[in-house]
C-alpha cells in the first residue's frame, strides 16, 4: 500500500528526535553538581557535626590524594582506556620516596629533590606502561593490571619487607601545614587540578584525547600520531600517581606498599559519579572534581554517622553501579582500548 502523504517528512522527524536527545544530554550533564549540592544540604541537616570548620578541614584533607589520582585517570578514561596500575605505582612511589629523604633505613637525605625524583619515577612508569600498551597492542586493562602487580613487587623489594620511617622534617611540616585554612596537601591537589584544566581546555592535546575517545578511526584518518597521544596520557597518569604516592608517604610518615591499597576504587567511583563516561569521549576534569567532592562528602558523612567501615565499602560499590548504569548508553562498548 502506498504511504499517506503527511506533512512531516522523515528528515524532520529525525531532526526533532535529535533535538530531544540533545536536551536530555544537557540535563544529564548538570546532574552531578545538583547531586553534590543536595548531598551537602542533606548531610548538613541530618548529620551532627557536618557543618563545622573542623569537619570541612577534614574533608579537604581527605580529598587531596583521591583528587590528584583521579585527575590522572580522567584523561585515560576519556580516551577510552583504563589505568589499573594505580595501587602498585602509588605504593612503589610511596616506598621509594621514603628511602631517598632522611629516614631510618638509608643514608640519603635528598629532601625536596628526593620527592621530585619519586614523582618522576611515577611518570617514567606511566611512560613505559603507555609504550607497552601501544606497541604490543594489548588492551589497557591488561597492561596496567600487570604493571600494578609488578610495581607492588618492586615496592616491597625496595624496602626488603621492613618499611623505612621518615625523619625528614619537611614531611611533617607539609602534613600538618595549611594556608588560608586549606591544608598544604590539598593545595597541591588544586595545583594539579589547574594543570589538568589547562591541558583539557587550552591545548590541542586535550582535544585529541577527547577525539580519540569519541571516534578513534576518524582521528587516525587525519594523520595524527595517536600512539604519541596515548603514551602522553599514560605518562600524565603516572605523574599523578607519583604525586599521590608522595602524598601518601607524607601522611603516614613511612614508606610501604600499602600506601596504594584501596586507592583505585574511590578514584574510579569519583570519576564515574562526576559524569565522565567509561566509554570515553565525554566528561572532564571539572566533572572529576565534583565527583571527588561527592564521594568524599559521602564517606565523611558515613564516618560521622559511625557506619561500619566494611559497609562503607559496599556502599561505594552500589554507588558506582548506579552511576555507571545511569551514564552508559545502551549497547555502547565500554573500555575497549
Amino acid at each position: 500500500m502506498i504511504s499517506e502523504n503527511t506533512n512531516l517528512s522523515i528528515a524532520e522527524e529525525f531532526a526533532a528526535k535529535m533535538k530531544k536527545d540533545n536536551q536530555k544530554q544537557k540535563i544529564i550533564s548538570a546532574a552531578p553538581f545538583v547531586i553534590l549540592l543536595f548531598l551537602v544540604a542533606v548531610m548538613g541537616i541530618t548529620v551532627k557535626g557536618f557543618f563545622t570548620f573542623d569537619n570541612f578541614t577534614s574533608i579537604l584533607n581527605q580529598l587531596a590524594s583521591p583528587l590528584a589520582l583521579s585527575l590522572g585517570l580522567t584523561f585515560v578514561i576519556i580516551m577510552g582506556s583504563i589505568d589499573l596500575s594505580v595501587e602498585g605505582v602509588v605504593g612503589f612511589v610511596g616506598s621509594i620516596v621514603t628511602l631517598m629523604v632522611l629516614n631510618t633505613k638509608t643514608d640519603s637525605d635528598l629532601g625536596l629533590a628526593g620527592m621530585a625524583v619519586a614523582v618522576l619515577a611515577g611518570m617514567a612508569i606511566g611512560f613505559i606502561t603507555g609504550v607497552i600498551h601501544v606497541k604490543s597492542m594489548l588492551p589497557s586493562f591488561m597492561v596496567t593490571f600487570a604493571v600494578s602487580k609488578i610495581m607492588s613487587g618492586f615496592a616491597v623489594l625496595s624496602y626488603k619487607g621492613e618499611p623505612a620511617m621518615v625523619k625528614e622534617p619537611l614531611f611533617q611540616q607539609i602534613a600538618q601545614g595549611s594556608f588560608i585554612g586549606i591544608p598544604v596537601l590539598t593545595w597541591i591537589a588544586f595545583i594539579i587540578f589547574a594543570i589538568a584544566f589547562f591541558l583539557e581546555r587550552y591545548t590541542a592535546f586535550g582535544r585529541y584525547v577527547f577525539a580519540i575517545g569519541d571516534n578513534e578511526s576518524i582521528v587516525r584518518n587525519t594523520g595524527i600520531n595517536i600512539d604519541k597521544i596515548k603514551i602522553l596520557v599514560f605518562t600524565w597518569s603516572g605523574f599523578c600517581m607519583g604525586i599521590a604516592g608522595v602524598m601518601g608517604a607524607i601522611r603516614i610518615g613511612r614508606g610501604e606498599v600499602l600506601i596504594g591499597n584501596g586507592t583505585l576504587f574511590p578514584s574510579i567511583t569519583a570519576i564515574v559519579v562526576g559524569g565522565t563516561s567509561l566509554a570515553g569521549g565525554k566528561g572532564g576534569v571539572v566533572n572529576t572534581l565534583v565527583g571527588v567532592l561527592i564521594v568524599t562528602v559521602i564517606q565523611n558523612g558515613l564516618i560521622l554517622l559511625g557506619v561500619n567501615p566494611y559497609i562503607q565499602l559496599a556502599i561505594q560499590g552500589i554507588i558506582i553501579i548506579l552511576a555507571v548504569s545511569l551514564s552508559v548508553t545502551r549497547g555502547k562498548k565500554v573500555i575497549t582500548k
Binding site: 517528512s9 522527524e13 576518524i218
Partner: protein, 508 residues
C-alpha cells in the same frame, strides 16, 4: 573561467575476487566545472571515488592531476594534493566544536607556549565557513548539538578548507550523496556553496541518486552502469528519460531469475503491517505478505528500506503502527523475539553477521537449529555432520570438507552456508537482505533456484534485492520506497513484470 583540465582518469579498472567493480573508466574533470555522476547501486560510483581519494588502488589504469601523474596512497596524501571528499557517513568528531573540527590536526598554527588560541581559530573558522557561503553557524558550538544539515555544511567547509590550502591551481571536491539529509531549502544553500567553490576555479564531483538535482547543478553528467561508463551527457542534452534509460539499460533475461518457476502465492496472510513507522527513518508502511510470496522492496540508500528490514527482523522496535505475524500483534526488540515468530534473516554483512568465520561449515549450518542435532541433551557430532552433508549436496556448496572454516569459503559458498542454516531453522518468513551481494554469477543462479524452492515449499520472503533487476525478476510484488515512504506498489507476476525505468522514477 578557465577550462583547463584538472584531473584525468585513463582506463581505470578495479577488480575484487569474484567481481569486477570498474571496467576501463575514462574521465576528465575541468576547472570551474561541476561533474555529476549517476548510476544504480553497485554501478561503481563509490569505487571510483575511493580510488580518486586513495582509499583503494586501481587494478589497472592511471590518473593525472594538474598534468602530473596522480597515484594517492591514502586520503591524507590526496588531501595534500588538493583532492578532498565529503563522505556519506559523517566524519566529524561529535564532542568537539565546529572550529576544532575544521582545524583538527592544524592546531599548531594557533599555538603559543603550548596554549591554543581558540579565539583566533574561531575567527579563522568564520572565514572558512564564509568561503562556502555559510554565515549563521557559531564556530564554538559542539557538533553534537547541530542538526544534520548544518553538520553537512561544516563537513564541506572542513574539506574545502583542507584542499584549498593545499594547492593553488584548483582543487577537486567529491561530494557523495550530499543531499540525502537535506530538505529543499538546505539543498538550495548547498548549491550556493558549490557555486562559490566552482567560481573560484575548483571542480566539484556530485554523486547523487536524485536525478533532478544532478541535472540542475552539473555541467556534465557521467552515467555508470555495471562498472562501465555508459554515457557522458552535457547539461543541455540531459533529461530524466534519457538518464534513466542509460542508467538502467536492457533488462536481463527472465531465464536468469527463473521467472518460470515463480509460484503464485497462497491466499493465507502470514504477515501484515499497518502504518508501520520508525521515528526518523520510515513511516506509514503497510502491506500484507502471503504464504509462498516474495515481496521485493526497492529504494536507494536512505529510502528507509534497510530500517524497515531491521524492524521486521527484530533488530529494532517500531515506534508507530502495527506488525501482525500470523494473526498476533507483535513488537520485536530483539531478533530472538522475531525468531520465535518464525522470522529469520539473511543479513547484508555476510562476514560479520551471516557466518561465524572461525567455526566450521557444519557448525555454522546447525547454529540456528540445535534442537534437531541433540541426542540425550548433548550435541551429536554425527547428526551435525549428516545435516551438513545433506545441505552441501543440496545447495552445491564447494568446499574441502564439512570441517572447513567458513571464513575460507568464497562469497558465494559462504552465502550458501547461510542459506542452509536459515532453511534448516524451520523459520517460514525469511528476510533476504542483498542475498547475492559479492556472489559470483554461477552461485547467484543457484541461489535464485534456492529461493524458488523456498517459496514452492510454502515459505514467504521479503527481499531487498542487490540490483533492481534482481528485485523485479524474483518478486511477486514490488514496493518502491523513497524518503521513508512507500511511493508505489507494483504487481510483478511472471507475465506482468514492470520495467526498471518505471520503478527508478519512483525511487528517486
Amino acid at each position: 573561467m578557465q577550462n583547463r583540465t584538472l584531473f584525468k582518469a585513463e582506463n581505470i579498472s578495479k577488480e575484487y575476487p569474484g567481481t569486477v567493480a570498474l571496467r576501463g573508466i575514462n574521465m576528465e574533470i575541468n576547472a570551474g566545472e561541476v561533474v555529476g555522476l549517476i548510476g544504480e547501486n553497485g554501478a561503481g560510483k563509490s569505487t571510483l571515488l575511493k580510488i580518486i581519494m586513495g582509499i583503494e588502488q586501481p587494478t589497472t589504469g592511471r590518473m593525472e592531476l594538474h598534468g602530473k601523474e596522480y597515484a594517492p596512497q591514502n586520503p591524507i596524501h590526496a588531501n595534500s594534493l588538493g583532492v578532498g571528499m565529503v563522505f556519506q557517513e559523517q566524519s566529524l568528531i561529535q564532542n568537539l566544536t565546529v572550529g576544532q573540527n575544521i582545524f583538527f590536526g592544524q592546531e599548531k598554527k594557533y599555538r603559543k607556549f603550548g596554549v591554543v588560541n581558540w579565539k583566533r581559530m574561531y575567527e579563522d573558522t568564520k572565514q572558512a565557513l564564509a568561503a562556502i557561503g555559510i554565515s549563521n553557524v557559531r564556530p564554538d558550538r559542539k557538533v553534537s548539538q547541530l542538526d544534520f544539515a548544518t553538520r553537512q555544511m561544516v563537513e564541506i567547509a572542513k574539506v574545502f578548507n583542507i584542499v584549498s590550502n593545499a594547492s593553488v591551481e584548483g582543487s577537486i571536491i567529491l561530494l557523495d550523496e550530499p543531499t540525502s539529509v537535506l530538505n529543499d531549502e538546505e539543498v538550495k544553500q548547498l548549491y550556493k556553496q558549490i557555486d562559490k567553490m566552482r567560481k573560484a576555479g575548483n571542480a566539484v564531483v556530485f554523486v547523487s541518486h536524485r536525478l533532478d538535482e544532478v541535472m540542475e547543478i552539473s555541467d556534465r553528467i557521467y552515467i555508470f552502469k555495471d562498472g562501465s561508463n555508459v554515457g557522458i551527457m552535457k547539461k543541455e542534452e540531459a533529461n530524466e528519460m534519457l538518464l534513466y534509460e542509460k542508467m538502467v539499460g536492457r533488462t536481463a533475461t527472465g531465464e536468469y531469475y527463473k521467472v518460470d518457476r515463480q509460484t503464485t502465492p497462497d491466499k493465507e496472510v502470514v504477515m501484515e503491517v499497518k502504518n508501520l513507522g520508525l521515528t526518523g527513518y520510515f513511516m506509514n508502511v503497510s502491506f500484507k505478505l502471503h504464504k509462498g510470496e516474495v515481496i521485493g522492496i526497492c529504494g536507494v540508500v536512505g529510502s528507509g528500506k534497510e530500517h524497515l528490514c531491521a524492524v521486521i527482523c527484530g533488530d529494532e522496535a517500531h515506534t508507530a503502527g502495527e506488525m501482525i505475524i500470523k494473526g498476533k500483534r507483535k513488537v520485536f526488540s530483539d531478533p530472538c523475539d522475531s525468531r520465535k515468530s518464525g522470522i529469520l534473516s539473511i543479513p547484508k554483512e555476510r562476514r560479520e553477521e551471516g557466518i561465524i568465520g572461525s567455526l566450521s561449515i557444519h557448525e555454522n549450518i546447525c547454529l540456528s537449529s540445535y534442537p534437531s542435532v541433540k541426542k540425550k541433551g548433548f550435541i551429536s557430532k554425527k547428526l551435525q555432520y549428516q545435516k551438513a552433508l545433506e545441505w552441501i549436496d543440496r545447495l552445491g556448496i564447494k568446499c574441502s570438507g564439512i570441517k572447513e572454516r567458513t571464513e575460507f569459503l568464497s562469497g558465494g559458498n559462504a552465502q550458501k552456508v547461510v542459506f542452509a542454516r536459515v532453511l534448516s531453522s524451520g523459520a517460514d518468513i525469511l528476510v533476504l537482505n542483498h542475498p547475492t551481494r559479492g556472489v559470483d554469477i554461477g552461485a547467484k543462479e543457484d541461489i535464485y533456484g534456492i529461493i524458488r524452492d523456498m517459496t514452492a515449499a510454502g515459505k514467504s520472503v521479503i527481499l531487498l534485492g542487490d540490483t533492481l533487476d534482481e528485485c523485479i525478476g524474483l518478486s511477486n510484488r514490488i514496493l518502491v520506497m523513497k524518503d521513508g515512504k512507500v511511493t508505489k506498489e507494483y504487481d510483478a507476476s511472471p507475465s506482468n513484470k514492470p520495467e526498471q525505468v518505471d520503478i527508478v522514477r519512483y525511487m528517486m
